[in-house]
């Protein structure tokens, strides 16, 4: 049933956007999402590169979408010494190894509702790759649709692509965020964490290693937990539903947006939804709460009044 909904949503999108060209061929180009059906058909297209970014280790190795290649988020996409995304040089080595060209269509997918795949998409976009898409519903949906997995390694010739410098337009730093807080710029900040993290009832979800020593949220931030943008089956809601959801929270794209969460990964999901699907001007604040909440002297709203170290 949900598959029908997506299909009709994709159709509506194609028709809405459309000139009278073949809707089928255009759909993937127009939409930042691809369906399992499309991906299965196009998995052998040399212009399509499929990349899995999953949180759980061993998932990729035990079975991945045929022709997919693996990116390990905690080593491949970050600088392992400084707190930062992978350097231009490191990322270039990675995409060359994956055989990705500038005009390749990069389809990312992963476990956990594409969290880390969306984070990967943010990094690919930031390094100047235009055709970056998510497999709608990720691993979960692919499996639910009973599509095949493969354990063999994709044989891909390395590319000689040159990666452009990191595009700062997609990323917000601490200074940008504190400017918003000080009313120096007219930007909407969206906190996509759970309501309990936002209110300051808890410092972080249970089991999270990285913490801030203050609870609460950035003053003025609106709370729309990322999961509200997702259907039960892991697919992203339709454009209309998304517009309604965010408009109800006061986010309509009329102002630039900054999204954040705890460490910047979950917020990539909302970044993807708002910028790639709704076309809003969105920056991801990857320092997120572990940077802001740990910074000395910045204002914090803590409705719950939880005190660090206190009883």
């Amino acid at each position: 049933m949900s598959f029908k909904t997506i299909l009709s949503a994709a159709m509506a999108l194609a028709i809405g956007a459309a000139v009278a060209t073949s809707a089928q061929a255009q759909a993937p180009k127009a939409s930042p999402l691809v369906t399992g059906e499309w991906l299965e058909k196009n998995a052998n297209d040399p212009k399509v590169r499929i990349v899995e970014v999953s949180v759980e280790p061993g998932l990729f190795e035990r079975g991945h979408i045929p022709n997919a290649q693996n990116i390990v988020w905690h080593t491949d996409l970050v600088d392992t010494v400084r707190r930062d995304v992978a350097t231009q040089e490191k990322f270039q080595d990675l995409v060359r190894k994956l055989g990705i060209e500038k005009d390749s269509t990069v389809v990312l997918y992963g476990d956990n509702n594409n969290w880390f795949a969306a984070w990967g998409a943010w990094i690919f976009k930031s390094y100047g790759f235009e055709n970056v898409k998510l497999l709608d519903g990720g691993r979960k949906k692919w499996e639910a649709e009973k599509r095949p997995f493969d354990t063999r390694v994709a044989s891909v010739a390395p590319s000689k692509v040159t990666v452009s410098a990191f595009d700062k337009k997609l990323r917000a730093n601490l200074a940008a965020v504190s400017d918003v807080v000080a009313n120096k710029s007219n930007v909407t900040i969206v906190d996509i964490r759970s309501a309990d993290e936002y209110s300051g009832k808890i410092f972080a979800p249970a089991g999270s290693q990285e913490l801030a020593v203050r609870a609460g949220h950035i003053p003025g931030a609106l709370n729309v937990p990322w999961g509200r943008a997702v259907n039960e089956d892991g697919t992203i809601k339709s454009v209309d539903e998304l517009k309604k959801l965010y408009a109800a929270a006061g986010i309509d794209g009329s102002k630039p947006i900054i999204v954040y969460c705890r460490i910047g990964e979950r917020s990539s999901h909302t970044w993807f939804v708002l910028s790639q699907i709704l076309g809003y001007d969105v920056r991801n604040y990857d320092g997120s709460w572990t940077e802001y909440g740990n910074t000395v002297g910045l204002p914090v709203i803590n409705v719950a009044g939880t005190v660090w170290g206190g009883k």
Binding site: G58, F60, E61, R62, V153, G207
Partner: protein, 413 residues
């Protein structure tokens, strides 16, 4: 030897599997068959509920339990049979398990990581840090085996045989785990943090590591045979059913099945191991009681049997262990080897003391004879070999000293 079976031996086998089991093995066979069917049904239901991992873990656990019980795949007993009676067959069975496991893992690795030299380690394999802590862990674990009479996996299948010692050994293991958590931060910062996790294929290549492992295993088998004395083999007879369901399986067959099972489990769910759930629950209990430190340095980043505290009621490893015990019981029950008895004071003491050592060793060694040793050696981890060597050295030393001072019973002639 049981006689119940011989009474029914001449009856005509029934037409349906159930009546066949009933006619051959009486009501005990029927109970065991019903238990196994129930396990399969749960596996089927779990799979239907989208829990493929749990479902497979259950099947692997049941298969492992049956093989352990039927072939007495017990690291300690097999060693003692050789040590006391010069019967090397059990130890050769372990060597066969390791050899099959190494071959199987190599096949899997080749598909997952075509190039072993990239510096990346294969996912979830038991490739642990090599330091003096690993040796200490092996020594403690070996002593625990000698004192309590088994390692953790064998205590689990013996639970299914109604062993009076095993429940106390497992309680001791939980206590030992908590003690391990208490000493962990010191050990980690003192040695483990800087210890290298040596993966042999990275240095020798897949072919080199495979060859080296097989050569070492062959050499050990040859050394064992030097000491082996003539052993009386059980009289041969033609009753195949009896050979399968009542008599002890030849150790090498058990070993070969364990090797295949280890490979299949690694391919589909994760490496074989029996202490992750015990460790996870011990940590949960210790944290709830406020005695285990909130932060265990580096532990969640290391590979091994010890995993993060999970909130889930059922983990893969938990299901694996429950199925192991249930299936071992079913196997023992059919064979008339389920013999529960009241524990004696000595059994309680030895179980608890040995169990504490097993638990401490399994925590600080990041696994047990199945995880760190069997799955580790299969995975080409240096840590597996070192842990194994420390365990068996310690078993020998503990038996020798324990018998000298009269704390452990001497071999029955």
């Amino acid at each position: 030897m049981t006689t119940t079976l011989q009474k029914t031996e001449r009856e005509t086998p029934g037409a349906s599997p159930a009546s066949f089991a009933l006619s051959r093995f009486g009501w005990r066979g029927a109970v065991s068959a019903a238990l196994l069917v129930a396990l399969l049904f749960v596996a089927y239901a779990l799979h239907g509920a989208g829990q493929a991992g749990l479902s497979l873990s259950l099947i692997f656990g049941a298969a492992f339990g049956i093989v352990l019980q039927r072939s007495r795949f017990c690291f300690f007993c097999n060693f003692r049979e050789w040590y006391d009676d010069g019967d090397a067959r059990g130890l050769i069975g372990i060597i066969v398990a390791l050899a099959v496991g190494v071959v199987g893992y190599t096949v899997v690795f080749g598909s997952w990581l075509p190039d072993a030299s990239t510096g990346r380690l294969p996912p979830d394999a038991f490739i642990g840090p090599v330091s003096y802590v690993l040796v200490l862990a092996g020594l403690a674990f070996g002593a625990g085996m000698a004192i309590s009479g088994s390692c953790v996996s064998a205590h689990l299948y013996r639970l299914g045989e109604g062993s009076p010692t095993s429940p106390f050994a497992l309680i001791g293991t939980v206590v030992g785990f908590i003690l391990g958590f208490l000493s962990w931060n010191t050990l980690y910062l003192g040695a483990v943090a800087e210890a290298p996790s040596v993966w042999l294929p990275r240095w020798l290549g897949y072919a080199g590591a495979l060859l080296a492992a097989l050569v070492v295993l062959a050499a050990v088998a040859w050394l064992l045979s030097l000491r082996a004395r003539n052993t009386v083999s059980s009289p041969a007879h033609d009753d195949q059913w009896r050979k399968i369901f009542v008599e002890r399986w030849p150790a090498w067959i058990g070993g070969a099945i364990v090797g295949v099972l280890g490979t299949a489990a690694y391919l589909r769910v994760g490496p074989l191991g029996v202490t992750a759930e015990i460790g996870g629950r011990a940590r949960q209990a210790g944290t709830a009681l406020g005695i285990v430190p909130q932060r265990l340095e580096g532990l969640d980043t290391l590979r091994g049997c010890i995993t993060v505290v999970r909130d889930a009621l059922l983990s893969n490893n938990g299901v694996f262990i429950i199925a192991l015990v249930v299936a071992a019981f079913a196997a023992a029950f059919t064979a008339g080897q389920f013999k529960p008895s009241w524990p004696s004071g000595g059994q309680i003491t030895r179980g608890l003391t040995g169990g504490v050592l097993l638990g401490w060793g399994a925590m600080t060694g990041l696994g047990c004879t199945v995880g760190t040793f069997l799955s580790g050696v299969s995975a080409g981890a240096l840590s597996g070999w070192i842990f194994g060597a420390a365990i068996f050295a310690s078993v020998a030393a503990t038996l020798f000293v324990g018998r000298r001072v009269g704390l452990l019973s001497k071999p029955t002639a």
